[in-house]
Symmetry: C2
Subunit: 247 residues, 2 copies
């Protein structure tokens, strides 16, 4: 189980719950952006499992300007120098093909660390061709919801991709996976790993509250979404039991 987190507490809880890997991001509300070096260093000092780092410079699509590509290069170098265990990124051309040039350069900067192609795949035009390209480029793993709004609704395509990959690359379902639908998704897809945030709303420690103010558009300043140790444990156990009975 890979747990995506965007704060120190979530990372610590993922470790406590028995996750195998962390995907470290900033701003999960946007689907994850590049975290800071400060966050990576602190998380690495607190958890023992591998920490894979998201490389995404802003919200929105995965079609990057030359200046944005320079930001990606710079950040991957710095985060590698600060003990990242792997990276997670993806880039598309306007036509929806995998952007080979950008991905190859990022893979070479990350080398020898393993890289995951992320859900930019779910906005690509031809999943079969795109998976071939991702394998050719040298990614170790693909995170996907099967081009659907959740891994549950995309389960059939995920199964097809796992068959196509035939062990050359790991296909990891992600998006909307919960303790409730995990068993179904693992049985439908035959996936051997999966990705979830396993978060629960936690009330702020603030005693004084000003509800009229908002920092961002729609967010609630007094509620945090934090990875829940018990939910991670439950999901790890569910997965283990599915995998044991299908071996």
């Amino acid at each position: 189980m890979e747990v995506c987190v965007d704060c120190v507490e979530s990372a610590v809880n993922a470790g406590k719950g028995g996750a195998s890997r962390i995907e470290l991001c900033s701003a999960l509300s946007e689907g994850g952006l590049t975290p800071t070096v400060g966050l990576l260093r602190r998380v690495k000092s607190l958890v023992k499992i591998p920490v894979f780092v998201m490389i995404r410079p802003r919200r929105g699509d995965f079609c990057y300007s030359n200046d944005e590509v320079e930001v990606l290069y710079e950040d991957i170098r710095l985060l590698k120098d600060n003990s990242a265990d792997g990276f997670v990124f993806g880039s598309l051309t306007p036509e929806g093909a995998i952007d080979r040039a950008i991905c190859e350069k990022l893979i070479s900067l990350a080398s020898p660390l393993p890289c995951t192609f992320h859900r930019a795949f779910d906005l690509a035009c031809d999943p079969i061709q795109s998976l071939d390209t991702i394998i050719e480029i040298g990614f170790h793993r693909l995170l996907t919801s099967g081009q659907a709004k959740s891994a549950e609704s995309g389960a059939m395509l995920i199964k097809k991709l796992i068959d196509q990959a035939n062990g050359k690359i790991s296909i990891m379902p992600g998006a909307g996976i919960t303790a409730e639908n995990l068993e179904k998704i693992l049985i439908l897809t035959c996936a051997r790993e999966f990705h979830a945030s396993a978060r629960k709303a936690v009330q702020s420690k603030m005693i004084h509250v000003n509800e009229t103010c908002k920092m961002g558009g729609k967010c609630d300043e007094y509620e945090l979404l934090v990875t829940d140790v018990y939910t991670v444990k439950t999901m790890v156990e569910t997965a283990q039991s599915v995998w044991n009975s299908h071996n």
Copy 2:
């Protein structure tokens, strides 16, 4: 005019429009988080105006754990080493007082660069006492919406704070300031600087579109909010004309 930005293009456009300063963030959708060193380096190579950097480790409140405070310290050091021109942060105790210990440490790490106390102030319990504390600690500037949902609705408190500060610190109105309400806010508050994002929706360059997938919760992957050169120009001219006629 200070323009808050969360991508390279917005920073460049703020400079072109004649802004005096950039507040560099990640994820403005959350009210701004700490940006990466990669983004700071690229923006500094492209714009000539000062770049003040947001130091905020996650969304939500401004009551930080010890681990989060370590992240703040680490990031401020790294961003200072990478040519930040100033910093923007704020921290509160659960009771809604300014967290003096954290702020003093961050100010000393940032020294001699100027620091802005940001809209955490708007969630503090006693604005008059809080402003006194912020001045004592040594901040150069306060960014506030007058504890209201926008600088327009908080204009009366902002005016009062400007009178109280009496030039010892700059009070900068921010939140919901547009080309339409700027003149009114400047006249009501007598502020000599202000803060806005001046953004406009820009369509993605993607030709291939998959509308069924979303990366984050509510965000549209095919629309970006980017600072608009013309809006910045208009706001700078409006402010100049208000300030000229009230001097």
